[in-house]
């Protein structure tokens, strides 16, 4: 019994049940397959999280994002800066750098991207950890203060997409959102 010492002193020499052996082989091969599939996806797949990361001082990041947002601030037909609920809309050049800043409790600013174009998206936080959850795409990435994460992102559909914070970040966590617009 499993609660008593093995009756056979040399239990290592007992034969293995055929069913066990078969299952071990199947499970082992399946494990190998899953392992190599992760590696293979780096070559055949289009969804691999970038590991490009830099250390950055939160205050420096904040300045960098502000300067960038001012430079590419979208101007409406009336000549006024475009905003959504008080947040500026920024339309970066095609294929350029895009900065998103996470802070208590918003993702700033609103960015406008073009479908099918690859951007370098920089993400960092200036206070606590946050969660970048792009919806309804359902793509979820952690955001740290002090680390600037650079992701090469190509939107494949147009529309308004929300960013929801999905890392608990204090009492306003459930009010923390952001917006990404994708146009043709």
């Amino acid at each position: 019994m499993a609660i008593t010492p093995p009756a056979n002193r040399l239990w290592w020499k007992e034969p293995i049940h055929g069913v066990e052996l078969g299952w071990i082989v199947i499970a082992f091969l399946w494990g190998l397959f899953m392992f190599f599939f992760m590696i293979a996806w780096h070559f055949i797949g289009d969804q691999n999280l970038s590991t490009e990361t830099y250390r950055v001082k939160p205050a420096a990041y904040e300045e960098k994002v502000a300067a960038w947002a001012e430079q590419y601030q979208k101007i409406g037909a009336d000549g006024e800066p475009v905003e959504v609920e008080g947040t500026p809309v920024v339309a970066p050049p095609e294929g350029g750098d895009v900065y998103i800043l996470a802070r208590l409790w918003e993702f700033w600013p609103v960015v406008e991207l073009k479908k099918g174009v690859k951007y370098r998206i920089h993400i960092s936080s200036v206070d606590w950890q946050h969660g970048f959850s792009l919806q309804p795409v359902n793509m979820n990435i952690s955001v740290h203060p002090g680390y600037e994460h650079v992701i090469n992102l190509t939107p494949t559909e147009t529309g308004e997409f929300g960013i929801v914070c999905n890392e608990y970040c204090g009492i306003g966590h459930h009010t923390m959102t952001g917006l990404i617009r994708v146009v043709e």
Binding site: Y54, R55, V56
Partner: protein, 57 residues
């Protein structure tokens, strides 16, 4: 590890305990392995990854 064979019940054939069984019968060897493997592969390697993140402009 060395004490395993001498602990066998008296009277049984003194056949040598197979190597792998000796390993499995030695909790302190297992403890050593079970702490070292994750300490090296997960913790130390992981901390090195964090420490090697370059400083941005």
């Amino acid at each position: 590890m060395a004490e395993t064979p001498q602990k066998a019940p008296a009277g049984e054939a003194r056949e040598k305990v197979p190597m792998m069984q000796q390993v499995l019968d030695n909790p302190f060897l297992l403890l050593f392995l079970g702490v070292t493997v994750p300490a090296v592969l997960y913790l130390i390697w992981g901390i090195m990854e964090v420490a090697s993140v370059p400083v941005g402009q």
